[in-house]
Symmetry: C2
Subunit: 244 residues, 2 copies
């Protein structure tokens, strides 16, 4: 499998195009990351104005996805890239799909924040969601950082953290069932909080997907749906096991 | 914008490759459609064996996605397609991502069916989910049919039906809140049923996405995130408004 090398194109113009589209992905990722943080903050701090800003900013993310997609199509049509350049373009097409869907989840959280703004606020439940939000946001940041540095070992780290996130999500859901059973007046609010947790858990899945595209991009191996053990073997890297 | 024409390639081998990959997408779509039906049936009929089959068959869907993706990459690398051929390959790459995620939702439903198999069974709630399941399954079928016939007007029909699905989902959720408030013993089961409804609602979103890729494929226009009115205008088609 050819090695990834972004600086050996005959055409300097082509180099600039690839560099430009990579930078755009990182800019889109930065905005998506901020949306996660703002959505959770609007919920925790009961800030309806911020929630409305998150909903509004999602249109910007959608536009960025379409623009980057269009740029990738043009590169494919004009430059007819092969090997690692082709993998770069294809992994970008996939990455922005996941980023756009993370944006959708942030928007869903902001809409729930507006609905929840009128409810009573049990501080503990919000603290747990805040923690989960910070965790998945840092996973998205790591995945994007791995994409920027072309560092496939990041995929492994994010996949491991996704397992921790799933466990955190399960704990929140068990707690929520207890709240709802204790008092019928908790049902509506707790159901909304459950959907917030679900959205955050999905964001973790998307971060994991982005990590898998880095492996494909750098190593040319498609490890989607593979168990973590196979990922470890293929990357041939024994990163220290970190827990979020 | 060049017109889509799949039968004018200098190379008959290239024709065969494109035809083959299209057929594979339709085969994958057929399996995904069956998974939706089986998952909902396993829930409604309390059939744990069938639910386990759905979970097992999801691996097949994952494999199909990877194989088709690989074939698309090879076509891009070897044939360097342009214009409508390039759009066909790119819309396939996107379509199979949505199909794979529909498969994931079906698997989630099957897992919930296994957990719910031990609960009491209020027939009305199951009837509503069954109805929603039939509806989103027919949307997936229509979207795939539109892909096979290169019929962009199908996108409009599926987008309209997605609005009906969203309303059906909201009605189920309101009903579920009432169940949970009436009796704490309903909480756990009804929460699971809510997640089934949520998965079905998401399948509707994915069907809508597939419809949008048909417009891109046939018309070369990217109408993702566009309101239905814009879709109507761009397709220039006034299909009769059908409700599911």
């Amino acid at each position: 499998m050819d090695k990834l090398n972004l600086n050996q194109h005959i055409s300097r113009q082509f180099n600039r195009e690839l560099e430009d589209v990579r930078n755009r992905v990182l800019a889109m990722g930065g905005l998506v990351e901020r949306q996660i943080g703002d959505a959770v903050r609007s919920l925790v701090e009961n800030d309806i104005t911020l929630a409305e800003e998150v909903i509004e900013a999602d249109r910007q993310i959608n536009d960025m996805e379409k623009e980057i997609d269009e740029e990738c199509n043009l590169i494919l049509a004009r430059r007819q890239p092969a090997a690692s350049d082709l993998r770069l373009v294809l992994s970008i097409v996939k990455t922005i799909t996941d980023l756009e869907r993370i944006g959708d989840e942030a928007e869903r959280i902001a809409r729930l924040a507006i609905r929840l703004a009128e409810s009573d606020r049990p501080s503990k439940a919000y603290r747990e969601v805040e923690h989960l939000g910070r965790h998945v946001r840092s996973m998205v940041r790591e995945a994007l950082d791995g994409f920027a540095r072309l560092a496939p070992e990041v995929a492994l780290k994010v996949a491991r953290e996704d397992e921790v996130v799933d466990a955190e999500y399960d704990a929140i859901m068990r707690q929520n069932i207890t709240y709802m059973m204790e008092d019928p007046r908790n049902v509506r609010r707790t159901l909304d909080m459950s959907f917030v947790a679900r959205s955050l858990e999905r964001i973790g899945d998307h971060a994991k997907n982005i990590g898998e595209y880095i492996i494909y991009l750098v190593e040319g191996k498609d490890l989607r749906h593979a168990p973590i053990e196979e990922m470890e073997k293929e990357i041939g890297e024994s990163a220290p096991r970190e827990q979020g």
